[in-house]
């Protein structure tokens, strides 16, 4: 399968976290460990996996491609937005100056992702659970809405050339 030359593996770090696009299988444990911090009381992790069906059709695999140069910038901005948006924990008294998120990371796999394997892993560490959950969900929804990544679904009994490109809000 040929991919666009612009659908490359990519990695970008900022002080609040890391964004990765990779053709390698995602190591959920390693990704979770990467946000580890002694100041974290909570780590929220989301793993998106290839499901075996879509509207009654049997899915055999998904393939992802990205405009990596732009997608990685979009993913970093999503992490920055999550950090800004997720407010101070309601468990803390107002005078307490604690960062609500310690570290966030999102890894998205490119290329073929067989049924049952992860295509996206998001991990967020925080002093408190509420912020970790909220940020994790927000990052997922923002990636689905904005990241310049495309998925193609291959179904059993359908010729490869006719495999559909999906759109998240279509």
């Amino acid at each position: 399968m040929a991919y666009p030359s612009t659908s490359t593996a990519a990695r970008e770090e900022w002080e609040g976290g890391t964004c990765v696009l990779t053709y390698k299988p995602l190591d959920v444990d390693a990704i979770m460990r990467s946000v580890r911090d002694d100041g974290a009381g909570a780590t929220a992790v989301f793993v998106g996996t290839t499901r075996n069906s879509f509207k009654g059709k049997v899915v055999t695999r998904l393939e992802y491609q990205a405009y990596s140069r732009l997608a990685i910038k979009t993913m970093v901005q999503i992490l920055k937005d999550a950090r800004t948006a997720v407010s101070r924990s309601t468990h803390q008294p107002p005078a307490h100056n604690v960062p609500s998120l310690i570290s966030c990371t999102v890894h998205h796999r490119l290329g073929a992702v067989p049924v049952g394997e992860p295509s996206i892993v998001i991990a967020v560490s925080s002093p408190h659970r509420k912020e970790a959950f909220v940020a994790c969900e927000r990052i997922l929804e923002d990636v689905k809405e904005k990241a310049q990544i495309w998925k193609r679904e291959y179904y059993e009994g359908v010729r490869e050339e006719e495999a559909e490109w999906k759109g998240n809000n279509c």
Partner: protein, 93 residues
């Protein structure tokens, strides 16, 4: 001297055109620069009867890896050297 841009096609746009990228010469009769708003028609003329027109209707543009909001397309002009991508509806995550 002709001005060239690189157009990148992904997903449905690449399936329609059969290409991942294409070097396009901007028409020399548009002076000084070529409006981004006219690029769709130019690409469709290069790829007639491929369904590219339908794909472009639901797509956005990026220029040099920056998304162009719908409301700003009319104010973007290409002078040559830009990397323009067709961003059809995304499906990551």
């Amino acid at each position: 001297m002709s001005r060239q841009i690189t157009v990148l096609y992904f997903a449905a746009a690449s399936t329609a055109t059969g290409l991942y990228e294409q070097s396009i010469s901007l028409p020399t009769d548009t002076d000084p620069k070529f409006p981004l708003a006219s690029l769709a028609a130019l690409l469709v003329s290069l790829h007639p009867n491929t369904g590219l027109d339908k794909v472009l209707e639901s797509s956005q543009w990026s220029v040099n890896a920056e998304m162009i909001p719908e409301s700003e397309v009319g104010s973007v002009f290409l002078g040559g050297g830009e990397e323009v991508a067709v961003i059809c509806p995304v499906s990551g995550g």
